[in-house]
Structure formats: structure tokens, C-alpha cells
């Protein structure tokens, strides 16, 4: 798929005005955040330093495309784990909604609630869609030092698949083997 080879955002130009700020690009230090993942647990991006992280922003739990996308990552999780990568899903849904959704889809990675202030983290990454009040369908691959190495934004109705993520993770592994 084309997004796999595009280092720049694949977002069509005409949809850009809907976004607040611009999508964080490869080479940028990933902004840290702390979000709730269960009623009594939070997750911070810095907890994962030393491992690659796949940040999956998506508009909403329960919408059919998201379900497919997250179910796909759930199936491909073992491939992501081969690169020691952690997958974090992020939407503006509340924590109870996430819990019900995780249970229904048997998700094996955490969903984070970008709920209060709403969409704050999505804004920091430049993927908040002001007009509808939800995150774009955006992917970021962050390396073990916390730098964004790949990002893409899909058209709202299109499931981006997993191949772009895998290619980005493979490039990280190759880079690491080759040394600094």
C-alpha cells in the first residue's frame, strides 16, 4: 500500500484545514503523555522508552472500520512483538467505553482514553479533527529513543492495514543493527 513508502503524511491536501496544527513528522521527538487505560491505571509514553511504540489514533470505539482495524492489529500483534513493539490505541472515548470494546473484540493491547481535556494528545500530534471532535485515523511508529520514525493519516473511511507499520518496524530493526 502506498502509505508504506510515504514518509510524509498521505492526507489529501483538501482535508488539511479540518486538522488543528500539522501532523507530526518523522524525526520529531514524540510528545509525552499520560492517559487512563483502566479506571485505576494510567499509561505514559515514557514508560516504553527502550522499545518501539506503535500509536494508533482512531475516531471511535464501535464504528465498523475501527473495529476491523484494531482486530487486524490484534491478529498481527505477534508480528509487532517480534520487533519488541508495543501497540497503544488512542481515541476520545471514555474509559468504560474502552473496557467494553476491548472485551468485545478480545483486544490484547491497551486502549487509552484521550478524554479530558478531550483530544489533548491527538492535538499534540496534529491529528485532532476539530469539525467532528475526534482523532483522525493516524499511525505513528516511535523508536526506542522516543523519536517519531514514521507517520501516516488515512482518509476517514479507510482502514490503513498493517503493512506500513511492519515496514516501519523492520526499518527500525535494520537501523538498530547497523548502529548509529
Amino acid at each position: 500500500m502506498t502509505t508504506a513508502i510515504q514518509k510524509e503524511s498521505s492526507l489529501p491536501r483538501e482535508t488539511r484545514p479540518a486538522l488543528v496544527g500539522s501532523v507530526l513528522q518523522p524525526g520529531t521527538l514524540a510528545p509525552d503523555f499520560t492517559l487512563q487505560t483502566t479506571p485505576d491505571q494510567t499509561v505514559s509514553l515514557r514508560d516504553f522508552l527502550g522499545r518501539p511504540v506503535v500509536l494508533v489514533f482512531y475516531p471511535a470505539d464501535w464504528s465498523p472500520v475501527c473495529g476491523d482495524q484494531l482486530s487486524l492489529y490484534n491478529e498481527v500483534l505477534t508480528e509487532f512483538k517480534k520487533h519488541k513493539a508495543e501497540v497503544l490505541g488512542i481515541s476520545v472515548d471514555g474509559i468504560w467505553c474502552h473496557l467494553a470494546f476491548e472485551k468485545d473484540r478480545k483486544l490484547r493491547f491497551p486502549l487509552l482514553s484521550d478524554f479530558e481535556p478531550k483530544g489533548d494528545v491527538a492535538r499534540k500530534y496534529g491529528v485532532f479533527r476539530q469539525s467532528s471532535g475526534v482523532a483522525e485515523r493516524a499511525l505513528f511508529v516511535i523508536d526506542s529513543e522516543g523519536t517519531i520514525r514514521w507517520s501516516t493519516v488515512s482518509p476517514i473511511g479507510v482502514n490503513p492495514g498493517a503493512d506500513g507499520i511492519l515496514t516501519a518496524l523492520e526499518e527500525l530493526s535494520v537501523r538498530k543493527q547497523a548502529g548509529p
Binding site: M1, V65, L72, V76, R105, D163, L166
Partner: protein, 178 residues
């Protein structure tokens, strides 16, 4: 534009002539209700297009949401080594609410399979590597859910209802015509 990364090979499950002007590859899951709907549409399309179309089925079981999907895929392969892949493929799609082990065994029995061999293949999950290979070829080609179709190697992002899919296949055939 997502492209099929693993081209159609002789070991794929094929219906139609290998030199047909259009090749339609489906990545599917036997327990996915949308694949079940697509099955009936594809039967109509296969009938209508005849020798103009080569149809290929590859496995893409979403095992976390569909608890019977992997066993069903194994059953299709176990039937396949006994020359009955498509019979099992059809039986599974036409009985998506009846995919328990004993029900699958009933289908195998109705095709006169060697049941001892079939059961052993199932118990040992003998054909799992092939299913995983199909799955990963789909992931690397941009399969993003089930069913996902590729027409002449390019992912079809439109609807798969009869008129839309038929038109896309005809267009692909025309584009290839000299």
C-alpha cells in the same frame, strides 16, 4: 494503491483458467458474515463470467473475533489435500452458524473423505503453516479486513456487491485487452 505482494501461484486454490484476462483474489475468513454474503455474490459472478475469470481464495482468519475461523480454515485445507477444497469452502460459507468440530466432520463425511486422515490432520493442525503464510501475504499486501479483494493484483477498495464488483472486473479485463 495496495498491491498483491505474493502473486498467484499453482499451489493457490484456483477456479478458472490461469490465462484468464481477470484474476480475482479473495482474502477471506469462513466465520466472517461479510465473507458469507460475498460468497453468494461470487458464485453469481463466477457463473456469469465463466472462463473470463480466475478466482483465487486465500485464508485470512481473524481468530480473536471468530473462534471457529482457524479450525474452519484447517478443515478446508484438510479437505483440499483430499481434492475437496471447494466443496468444504462452500459448505463452511453456507453453514457459518454450524462450525463446531462435529459439524465440520459431518461435512467432511458428506464428501466421502477419508475421515481418519481428515481427523488426524485437524488434530495436528497440519496445515496451519500454509494458513499463516496466506495470512501474512495478506497483511503485507494491505489486507485490512475481511473480505479483501485484489483485481489483477490491485486492491479493490470499492463495494463488493454484484454490480460494482462485476463492473470492476469487466474494466480490468478491458484494460488488459490488446
Amino acid at each position: 494503491m495496495s498491491k498483491l505482494t505474493v502473486p498467484v501461484r499453482p499451489q493457490d486454490h484456483l477456479i478458472g483458467p490461469t490465462n484468464a484476462p481477470v484474476t480475482l483474489v479473495e482474502y477471506g475468513d469462513f466465520e466472517c458474515p461479510y465473507c458469507g454474503q460475498a460468497h453468494y455474490i461470487l458464485q453469481e459472478i463466477l457463473e456469469k463470467m465463466g472462463s473470463e475469470l480466475l478466482f483465487v481464495f486465500r485464508h485470512f482468519p481473524l481468530t480473536q473475533v471468530h473462534p471457529h475461523a482457524e479450525a474452519a480454515a484447517l478443515a478446508a485445507e484438510a479437505a483440499g489435500v483430499q481434492g475437496r477444497f471447494w466443496e468444504m469452502h462452500d459448505a463452511l460459507f453456507e453453514n457459518q452458524r454450524a462450525l463446531e468440530d462435529l459439524e465440520i466432520l459431518d461435512y467432511a463425511d458428506s464428501f466421502d473423505l477419508d475421515l481418519g486422515q481428515f481427523e488426524e490432520d485437524m488434530r495436528k493442525a497440519r496445515h496451519l503453516p500454509r494458513i499463516k503464510e496466506d495470512f501474512m501475504s495478506g497483511v503485507r499486501s494491505g489486507v485490512n479486513g475481511t473480505p479483501t479483494f485484489f483485481i489483477n493484483g490491485v486492491r479493490h477498495d470499492g463495494s463488493y456487491d454484484f454490480p460494482v464488483l462485476t463492473r470492476a472486473l469487466r474494466d480490468a479485463a478491458m484494460a488488459r485487452a490488446p
